[in-house]
Symmetry: C3
Subunit: 348 residues, 3 copies
């Protein structure tokens, strides 16, 4: 597929500085683009690459338009516009409709003619697939699940019993939705399993990454809101609720019954303990660990950044003495009759 710059400008509301008849048919980075490619500048760290680009056109903000040596498509948010242009140039690879000869579909399942069931897929009893839904190769969809219109499971996905996915969801390979939550009770004879009788409800336009896990609820459902985006190897425990349009980067872990607000951004490998609430519009830095409610929007962190090993070892050793250091500091203040040491606040 190819697009003229004039078409791009008109369709996506850009101001074009350059020839409207120029044509692009692919995307590329600023550094490696040729005249057949459209590129973009969103991250200021790449501004230096703009000067040398050979792109057919570049999506830029007004601030960068002047510095663009090739045709510029000026827009308010170059990254969003890039996403829209790229979606036009690279439409998703949709599987053909129909049921593969090697799929195993329970006779009570409802599979519309527009849906696709890939080789080796298993569709259990009473499953309902929406129009244009797709179940990829070797996926397993247990009984009583439902997939909304246009929702797609890629390869080797497992949906356990009764999971409900909204419309236009995209579930990446190896994801497991609806496995039992980790409910165990300590009886005299050892752990006994607590039946997990809830399921999982997933909204519309949700993406769940490769090998991520969303557990079914203990009694009521685990709930993933509309527009939520979840990266790879993420763990969502039973009865967690993720608010609409939140995004969870890879390796995030959310413990049981925690509620994450709307439009939150959880950095890679961040985590939240169980039974807490996180407000809307909270941002967690990478590896941040949340141990109590967060009531105010804003950014939070807790990760310790790398240090050269000898320095790190000395500092870690000192960290183990920090409480003692604080008490020594107070003693010094007392000796000198200054500061907090004289008990002005008493809290330490």
């Amino acid at each position: 597929m190819s697009l003229s710059l004039g078409e791009i400008a008109a369709r996506f509301g850009c101001e074009l500085h350059g020839d409207p008849d120029g044509v692009v048919d692919r995307v590329a980075t600023l550094a490696n683009a040729g005249p057949d490619a459209v590129s973009f500048l969103a991250n200021p760290a790449y501004r230096a690459a703009l000067a040398d680009t050979k792109a057919g056109a570049v999506l830029v903000s007004a601030d960068d338009a002047q510095a663009c040596p090739v045709p510029a498509l000026v827009c308010a948010d170059p990254y969003v516009t890039y996403a829209r242009v790229a979606t036009l140039l690279y439409p998703p690879h949709l599987p053909e409709s129909g049921v593969s000869a090697t799929a195993t579909v329970d006779e009570s399942a409802r599979v519309p003619a527009s849906a696709s069931v890939g080789p080796g897929a298993r569709i259990g009893a009473a499953v309902v697939l929406g129009e244009h839904a797709a179940v990829g190769p070797n996926c397993v969809v247990e009984s009583d699940c439902s997939l909304g219109e246009g929702t797609r499971l890629l390869a080797n996905v497992t949906l356990c019993r009764g999971v409900r996915l909204g419309a236009r969801c995209l579930i990446h390979p190896g994801a497991v939705i609806g496995a039992d939550g980790f409910g165990i009770a300590r009886a005299p004879e050892g752990w006994i399993k607590v039946p997990q009788v809830g399921s999982v409800t997933v909204g519309d336009d949700v993406e769940i990454g490769a090998n991520s896990c969303v557990d079914r609820g203990a009694i009521e459902d685990t709930v993933i809101g509309d527009g939520v985006r979840i990266d790879n190897l993420v763990q969502i425990a039973h009865n967690v609720r993720i608010g609409d349009h939140s995004a969870l980067a890879a390796m995030v872990g959310i413990a049981g019954s925690t509620e994450v607000g709307r439009r939150c951004l959880l950095g890679g490998a961040s985590g939240v303990v169980g039974h807490v609430k996180i407000a809307d519009d909270v941002i967690l830095g990478g590896r941040c660990m949340v141990t109590s409610d967060i009531r105010e929007p804003g950014m939070y962190g807790s990760a310790m950044p790398h240090q050269e090993i000898a320095v790190y070892r000395r500092n870690v050793a000192r960290f183990r003495q920090i409480d003692r250091m604080a008490r020594r500091l107070k003693q010094l203040e007392k000796a000198l009759g200054i500061g907090r040491g004289i008990g002005r606040q008493g809290s330490d």
Copy 2:
């Protein structure tokens, strides 16, 4: 299925405050229960919900019996009793016995008539399934594996060659048991693989979560004791030994050759370095990292909790100076002729 309160009381040793002919047929939370549901109060955080519950009955400890506005089933451990009642109301969904037409079973495998092999499952040579064992859809069981009586693999599970599972185990979707341990040796030409010739031995009544990995041993076996419960996305490296009845929450990682004692509780995303020993009855807080032997039972932690980002950044910057701070503190003490600064202990 429905149960009278009298039956519940008799079967599980509860003292019933209320009408023994009351009937329940499902479980529910205190907040959402109706008269057809039995609920429970185990976590004091939910005590407020007790006053307003509309449940048909509530499992409570003696301390909470008075405050229960509906029939109370008084017992020593309401959560354990809840687990037993719920198991009765919600028996596990067992697959039908028999081998699916689309399964591929090696002719040397032993599959009793009571066992179940699901669609698309692969059973390798010399595999032995116990009575009522179940291999779910699209699972792969490589040669020489054995599953004890009643052990079930759900969907898309992989058991590599020679893995032995005890009786009544439950392995959740996507789990991989017996993949090669990470054994590599640095030769002049690059890494060379160290053959992993051990396997994995799993005891009875073990649960392993979705997408978790238990690696095979380098020479001898990796060993998971009886009654161990493992959550999702957990990594157990080669030659680890997990003692009986320990529980590992999601995203725990245990490095090679480490031994974890019995009845340990490892919090979410906690981890242990290789070649150490952890005593029985140790509890690790969430994200705790264990870097050496733990010889005493009790609880341990190391995670840094979240802080508002500006505070966090200042504190992290100071952490990088902590060794210098400690030396400055000592110098002050020396100047004042007090405390440790005069060299009383000398260790810092």
Copy 3:
């Protein structure tokens, strides 16, 4: 298979102290070896076990040869030599060549007679398998992928569209290579997906662990160099580049566009933020988090080690006060007219 000690010595350049006609046919640990087994001593922690070993022979360095009570095979690097001997005694279990009757192979795929396609595997359009390549049971290989000579996918692996693997790679069960990178743009109506139009290029002799994920690039490819070894549950984000012969232990996470040098060793659960560069020959301790470029080879750390819970809680509370402590320290220095407190450097 069995080997005489003379053969081992000759083939692997060892100096034999003992009878060349002694024979071994398996490997064992020092503690559990019998006269039919060859063992090795590489980790000094196991030196005590050498004195009591009953092994048929032990691979040792020159320093340990004297202390060996049984035949010694003296070599420069006992662990590397052990790996070579064990590889001879335990050749990999290769599947039989041929396409399983239950596999689904697109007619445009090229599958040489020496290759193996296991039960339930799916091979998409235009896939090219090298000689002796193997696609294990229930794997899914999407269209346009290529596998080099001798490359093997074990069970339940997913290769997404267009992924290229070099020769002699080994991909463990459940790994997902080429899923979409986590590219999302925040539009007024919610997140919109940024098409991930790059793919993944993997070099020769690469190993990727169970349930690990390597995402496809946003525009250009994600690149894994030759000889790279990746353990289980590792996350490699879009456009990461891993240099030749680096090794990543389990649960490592590398965020987008980061470049890791050659011969790096990334400890378990360590992580690197996006858009940074790590030099060659860098070693990260377990759980180390890298937050900026590392330009110098050497070892780095940042993990906080476990502490008994009461001590930990006091120290964590103090950590939250550390910035205040530093300012109090400075005030004391000022009061005493000593040290940095008088503004010698001003940086704190």
